[in-house]
Structure formats: structure tokens, C-alpha cells
């Protein structure tokens, strides 16, 4: 009891030194484990997503950009291919085709224009509501719904691509008709619409008041035969409703409208191989990428960087260990008088050694406990923390 009391008093008196020691040892122990854990977890999830989307077709350019854009909807590039590529792919007979158009945003959330096949393909389920049925409707990923507090009956408004584009397209106000269940994937943080709705967001389709009605006479500049030329004040609708749905129309053919990428869904392995061969050998205007290969190449880089970081941290850890030993050694030297006093007042040799060791044991034990706690936290939240750290 006396021994415990003396130990606590020592710790209390030297708390600053001990805290610094605990912090340093905890940090150099935790960091390599945390990096390993985050990288392993992330690699596993990236490869899972890549495995679930083995092939992606898109515009020529960076395969990494195309893969990550198609898998995570985070691409900032505007490379597109025409929608006719969907039909072209299906005409090969090797595969179904799922279009993706992820150019637009609602705040920071990607608006993914796609077909209903996507939801079957990803095995996405509705937690509330129904699928998109008519132009202009949106289904929220679970993460979007949770973070924004939006649900069925609410609306989301697309973000303009540039605040300086004064002549640009009006933001589209879209009713939320469904919310997806969580899916452990980037789909949770996306807003899904029909690909045609994406084209409306882009301004390739629109609805406006009838120009051949009397109310529109103020907007008519001239009539030339069957052509009516109106000025820019023609009222365009920024929300698609049952009342104005009829007025919405697309300029030109859907086949010429843009999409970001296509996810091919081959019928079987043989079809997949034939499809790959077909696109690699016969198409230079589009590229087909193998997601796993692209992600693996990315991970190779990450693993290399990780290895460098871990080696660096190991060196720091070794230096820290040497410093810690030195600190403990000097501490023991400084406590020589203390040991003498204890001996003179009747403490046994074992008691004195135990008291001296308490400092070292306490530091190592507390560091080990903190490190374990941090590792557990990292395993659960490390990826999110890393994201917040990098994005901030």
C-alpha cells in the first residue's frame, strides 16, 4: 500500500514527463499499425468494388480516371461518349450495358444518371418510396438522406457548374421519390436519376411555355414559315411536374447525348473475353478498362508509399525507443538519492526495485492501452478520419 502511494506520488509529481513519454511511445506504436490497417481495409474495399465492376467503357484518356469515376462518381473530367455506345455495346451480343453520367452535383453529392438496370446490378434496395418513374425524379443514397435529412417528398436542387455562367442552364429542382438502404458502397453517397434527367440538367432537354399560344406573344421575335423565333425571356421550367411534363422535350437524338461511361454486364466469362478483345482490337475511339487491373496498379503505388512510410516510422520508433531508454536511465540516476533514503528507512531491495520499475511499467502499460484503443478506433473510423483530414 505504501509502495502504491509512493508510486502515485511520483507519477503525479512527474506527470508532464510521463505524459510526453506516453504520447511519444503511443504515437510511434500506433502509426505503422494504423497505416497498415487503413491501407489494407481500403485496398480490400477498392478491390471488392473493382471486382464487382470488372469492365468499364468510356472515352479515351486516363484509365484510372475512368475507373474511379465509374466506381466512385468522383471524376471531375468532362470526357464523355455518346449514348449510342450503349446500343453499340448491346449489339455486340456479348453484354448488357448500363449507362452512367456523373457530371453533375447536388452540393457535394454526385448526381448519377443511369438506367434501372444499375440498381439490379448493384443489388440496391429501397428503404423507402419507389424507383424513379418519370423525368426529373431522384432517389437518394442512404448516406445522402442521413446527412441531409431529406426524404420522400422533399426536393434536391442541382448545383450550377459555374457561378459565372450567367447564361447557363437553370438548376433543376427534383422531387425525392425514394431512399436506398445502406449498401456499404459509394452508392450511399450518390443521388440517382434517370440518364435522361441528367440531360435535362445539362440543358439538352427542357420544357417551356407553348410558343404558339397567345400568352407567349410577347416573347415572339418573328415567325418564318413553320419556324417561331422567340427571345430568351421564354419561361423555362426548373422543375418537372405532371402539369408541365408534356412540354419537356429533347433537342436532337438521345443517341448523340453524352454519358460518362458504360458498365458492361457480359453474359458469361467467354462473352467477357470476347467483348474485351473486340474493344481492344477494333475500337480506338473508346477505351475499355479492367477495373481490377487499374485499381491494383494504384494499390501497388499505395503499397510502395506505405512501405516507405512504415520504414520511416520504424526508424523514428527506434530512435524514440533509444530516447525512452535514455530518459528512463537518467531518471533512475536522478532517483539514486531516493533509493538511498528508502533503503535507510527500511525498504527492502525488491520494494525499491519495484518502485523504480513502476515508472517504466506505467508508461509502457498506458501506451499499450492507448495504442490498442487507437487501433480499434482506426479500424472502424480510420478511413473516414483520413478522408476528413485530407479534404479539410
Amino acid at each position: 500500500m505504501d509502495l502504491l502511494y509512493l508510486s502515485l506520488q511520483y507519477v503525479r509529481h512527474h506527470r508532464l514527463k510521463l505524459v510526453v513519454l506516453i504520447f511519444t511511445i503511443t504515437l510511434v506504436s500506433w502509426l505503422p499499425i494504423a497505416i497498415q490497417s487503413i491501407v489494407d481495409q481500403t485496398a480490400e474495399q477498392l478491390l471488392d468494388r473493382a471486382d464487382s465492376t470488372p469492365l468499364v467503357i468510356g472515352a479515351p484518356g486516363s484509365p484510372l480516371e475512368l475507373s474511379l469515376g465509374s466506381l466512385y462518381f468522383r471524376s471531375k473530367t468532362s470526357s464523355t461518349i455518346p449514348y449510342s455506345e450503349v446500343a453499340t455495346l448491346e449489339q455486340t451480343g456479348f453484354s448488357r450495358a448500363i449507362p452512367l453520367y456523373y457530371r453533375f452535383r447536388v452540393q457535394d453529392y454526385p448526381v448519377v444518371g443511369t438506367s434501372l438496370d444499375y440498381f439490379d446490378y448493384r443489388d440496391l434496395h429501397l428503404a423507402q418510396g419507389r424507383p424513379v418513374a418519370i423525368l426529373g425524379e431522384a432517389v437518394l443514397g442512404s448516406g445522402v438522406a442521413k446527412a441531409s435529412g431529406l426524404g420522400i417528398g422533399d426536393h434536391v436542387i442541382t448545383s450550377p457548374e459555374s457561378v459565372f455562367d450567367l447564361a447557363g442552364v437553370y438548376p433543376l429542382r427534383m422531387p425525392v421519390v425514394g431512399v436506398l438502404s445502406p449498401s456499404f458502397s459509394p452508392d450511399d453517397d450518390a443521388i440517382f436519376v434517370d440518364v435522361k434527367t441528367s440531360w435535362v440538367i445539362q440543358g439538352l432537354g427542357h420544357g417551356h411555355q407553348e410558343l404558339n399560344r397567345r400568352e407567349a406573344i410577347g416573347q415572339i421575335l418573328k415567325r418564318e414559315g413553320d419556324n417561331i423565333v422567340a427571345n430568351a425571356s421564354v419561361r423555362q421550367f426548373n422543375e418537372i411536374t405532371v402539369d408541365n411534363l408534356d412540354s419537356f422535350h429533347f433537342h436532337g437524338k438521345n443517341a448523340n447525348n453524352p454519358i460518362s461511361a458504360i458498365i458492361p454486364v457480359p453474359w458469361d466469362d467467354k462473352s467477357s473475353a470476347l467483348l474485351l478483345g473486340h474493344y481492344l482490337e477494333e475500337r480506338s475511339d473508346v477505351q475499355i478498362v479492367r477495373s481490377r487491373r487499374v485499381v491494383t496498379e494504384l494499390l501497388d503505388t499505395v503499397f510502395t508509399v506505405r512501405d516507405y512510410i512504415v520504414v520511416g516510422i520504424a526508424l523514428v520508433a527506434a530512435a524514440t525507443a533509444v530516447v525512452a531508454v535514455l530518459v528512463f536511465y537518467l531518471s533512475l540516476r536522478l532517483r539514486q538519492g531516493e533509493r538511498y533514503t528508502l533503503s535507510r528507512i527500511g525498504a527492502s531491495g525488491v520494494q525499491i526495485q519495484t518502485l523504480m520499475a513502476t515508472e517504466i511499467i506505467a508508461v509502457l502499460l498506458v501506451s499499450a492501452l492507448l495504442c490498442t484503443a487507437l487501433v480499434l478506433i482506426t479500424r472502424h473510423y480510420g478511413i473516414i478520419l483520413m478522408q476528413q483530414l485530407l479534404l479539410s
Binding site: 474495399q45 411534363l245 419537356f248
Partner: protein, 302 residues
């Protein structure tokens, strides 16, 4: 290594997006798997599919009986049904104007007149407009009553059969057998119309609506198209205009049986008329029976 740093940064950013939790819920689509069905957008396609299939696969038509399928717009509930259909049989030539405004699975759409796209008749006099920074654009389209050309009807029936075979390969023999009979029936109609056309081709034809473009072209029976409703008495100005534009040897072709007061006025004016029902929607009699009656009525005219 430095050149890979952006990739590394991207990696960590994307890594942050990979979180969620688990929960079970209902599938997004295919809510009701209890019945397998295809949907046809008009009467002829409904008839073709029904003729080609067994009873185990239902053929549905969502258009109410009193609505012209070409003017029909689906409700949200209709779209949800369309999303569950194994196949959606489309007429083509812009018949289903709602198609661009709903979310359906493209791979299930069957454009039955697609093989005859070159034969679609483009409508003239469509308004175009321009406003703002966009260029001029038109909302024009094609004549869409394709099945009134029995040659095109055969093409459409064949396209329906092809789509059904692709969807249900195990029924190939059945579908092929039924297709032969169906095509033979349509060929009989074609011959019937041809025969009737030779008897009236020297008469001046007036059509109550501009929905007979393919019929006029196939059977070489051009005529004047009006916008007269069979259940709505035309005004005096319309009657005067009709008399001004036509000769004595006029044969007026109605989409449906006209009202008694209309037939009375026609008789008084000496205008002969006949009903040529396109049978776009479902009716008491099936499409083939309606077409046979059309042929029979036409063949009674000289």
C-alpha cells in the same frame, strides 16, 4: 514516385467514401414477380403478341379503352408496371411520345417497326422554334399508324416474334409455328385491301383524320385528310369546305361509325361513306376481326 502522388491522394479521397451500415429491405424493382407479362402499346401489337404466346405469359395493355393509345400518357403507377414488364412492345415512328419522359429499362424495349425505319413517313408542316442561345429545333415526327400497311404489319409481327423468341428461347418452336399462321392472316388482309383498292382507286377519297398515310401509300389510295370526329357534328363551314374541295364521286372514310346526324347529312348531300377502323385500341372484336370487317366493307364499294 512524385508523379504518382496525385493518384495516391485520389486513392485516399476515394477510400473515405467506402463506408456504410447493413440493413435489409425491398428490391428496388421487380416488386411483383408473381406474374410474367409483356406490355403492348396498342391494339395491333397486343393482338400479335397474344397470338404468338401461350396463356402462361400475359399480354397487357395499359391504355384505357376510351383513350387513343397514341395520345395516352402513363401515370406513375403505369410506369411502375412498365418497369416490371419482361418486354415493352413499341410501335415506333414516334407513337409513344411518353417514352422519353419515363424511366424504363431500355433493353426491354422492342421497336417493332424499327426494321422498316426507312419507310416511316415524315410529317410535313411541323412547327420549329428557337429561343435563347440554343439553335432552332422542331418537335416534329412521323406518321405512326404503320400497321394499316399490312406489309409493315407483317414486319411488326415478325419483330414481336423475334423479341419473344429471344426472351423465351424455349418457346421458339411454338412462336415460329404461330407466326406462320399470323403472317398468313395478315397477308390475306393485305390481299383483301389490294382487291378493294382496285375498285375504289378512281374515286375521290376523303379521310376523317390524318392517320391513314401508310394505308394510302401501300394501297395507292391518296386522299384528303380532315380532322372530323365521328361523334361530333361538323359545323356548316366544314361541310361547305368539304363540298368545295370534293367532287361528286366522293368516298368518305371514317375511323369509327359516325353519329346518326352526320350520316343523315351525308346522305342528304349524296356523300357515300365507309368505316375503316385502324383498331388502335382493344375492342370487343380482336384486331384481325376488325380488319376483316374493314376489308369486307371496302370491298362492297365500287
Amino acid at each position: 514516385m512524385l508523379c504518382r502522388l496525385p493518384s495516391l491522394l485520389a486513392f485516399f479521397i476515394f477510400a473515405g467514401l467506402l463506408t456504410a451500415c447493413d440493413e435489409q429491405s425491398a428490391p428496388l424493382q421487380r416488386v411483383d414477380k408473381s406474374e410474367t407479362f409483356v406490355i403492348a402499346v396498342n391494339g395491333p401489337l397486343h393482338y400479335f403478341a397474344t397470338r404468338l404466346l401461350d396463356n402462361d405469359i400475359k399480354v397487357r395493355m395499359l391504355v384505357p379503352a376510351d383513350t387513343d393509345p397514341a395520345q395516352w400518357q402513363p401515370s406513375v403507377e403505369d410506369v411502375l408496371q412498365l418497369q416490371q414488364a419482361e418486354l415493352i412492345l413499341l410501335n415506333g415512328a414516334g407513337y409513344s411520345s411518353w417514352l422519353n419522359k419515363v424511366s424504363v429499362i431500355d433493353s426491354r424495349l422492342v421497336l417493332t417497326s424499327g426494321a422498316a425505319r426507312d419507310e416511316w413517313i415524315e410529317l410535313e408542316g411541323q412547327l420549329s422554334h428557337s429561343h435563347g442561345p440554343d439553335g432552332e429545333h422542331a418537335h416534329g415526327g412521323y406518321a405512326f399508324t404503320t400497321w394499316m400497311d399490312m406489309n409493315l404489319a407483317q414486319i411488326q409481327a415478325t419483330a414481336v416474334a423475334k423479341a419473344l423468341r429471344a426472351r423465351w428461347p424455349e418457346k421458339q418452336a411454338l412462336i415460329d409455328g404461330k407466326l406462320v399462321a399470323l403472317l398468313a392472316d395478315i397477308a390475306d388482309l393485305d390481299n383483301g385491301y389490294m382487291a378493294a383498292a382496285t375498285r375504289i382507286q378512281n374515286r375521290q377519297l376523303v379521310y376523317s383524320h390524318p392517320v391513314y398515310q401508310y394505308f394510302e401509300r401501300r394501297y395507292e389510295l391518296p386522299g384528303l385528310s380532315l380532322h372530323w370526329e365521328p361523334d361530333l357534328m361538323p359545323g356548316d363551314a366544314q361541310w361547305s369546305e368539304l363540298q368545295r374541295l370534293t367532287s361528286e364521286d366522293i368516298l368518305f372514310i371514317w375511323e369509327a361509325e359516325p353519329a346518326v346526324e352526320i350520316t343523315g347529312r351525308m346522305s342528304a348531300l349524296g356523300i357515300e361513306w365507309v368505316v375503316l377502323d385502324p383498331a388502335a385500341n382493344l375492342a370487343e372484336n380482336d384486331w384481325l376481326a376488325v380488319q376483316k370487317k374493314n376489308v369486307a366493307r371496302l370491298q362492297q364499294r365500287e
